[in-house]
Symmetry: C2
Subunit: 145 residues, 2 copies
Amino acid sequence: MDIFMRAAIEEAELGREEGGIPIGSVLVHEGRIIGRGHNRRVQTGSAVLHGEMDALENAGRLPGRTYRESILYTTLSPCAMCSGAILLYGIPRVVVGENRTFMGEEALLRERGVLVEVLDDQRCIELMRGFIAEKPDLWNEDIGR
Amino acid sequence: MDIFMRAAIEEAELGREEGGIPIGSVLVHEGRIIGRGHNRRVQTGSAVLHGEMDALENAGRLPGRTYRESILYTTLSPCAMCSGAILLYGIPRVVVGENRTFMGEEALLRERGVLVEVLDDQRCIELMRGFIAEKPDLWNEDIGR
């Protein structure tokens, strides 16, 4: 498997071990991870730190040019908020672990010119299926349902 | 002036006093402010805490129902990220101070059924005009340019 998706999955698994929502993400620039993170709703009571947002936050302040040369890896199809962040910063390519358990704003991203690749990865699917079955209320909260 | 937009402007002014980007926001539920915040790029090195995101973060974890009964006030037209957060949580109404210095994703919000009201407020315009003239590089960084 792609080493960067593997790193995103490691982040998701770390989140699960912490009792959190198992979604992880890494931001990659010139073949190097410059930000990595996972959903922090449970861990810090955050309403905005989805996995992708946490990776962007941990990458710190960057010039616009860096985002426009980067790839975002995420274990789950990015929701409206995370897709919006991708559009704000002009990240041109997003690699998604899976979109079977949740379909985010992939159509909007593609419409705006972002290259979205979906790996349909079994490990990502199982992480989310297990979590949703165990904690459906927490999952609904995370996606505003 | 609307007391909630006044509170959002107070947040923006607080951000300016801290040397930050002068954009503020409040989340209002049943006539009461339940979250307030301002852009934190300078103050905490944040890439995700725009004013609206900071207000949502400071409101803490909320059930989906609360967002769907809330109004978000923001001094500036919400960017793609903040608009995405509004869509994720299903906030039905957004009151915007101004969109002359920056036009966010108002069209997308309206297309998805969000009521967007723009006040064209002179104080909000002057806050942003002064800031952009003084620190254009910081402003460009904040919107991924």
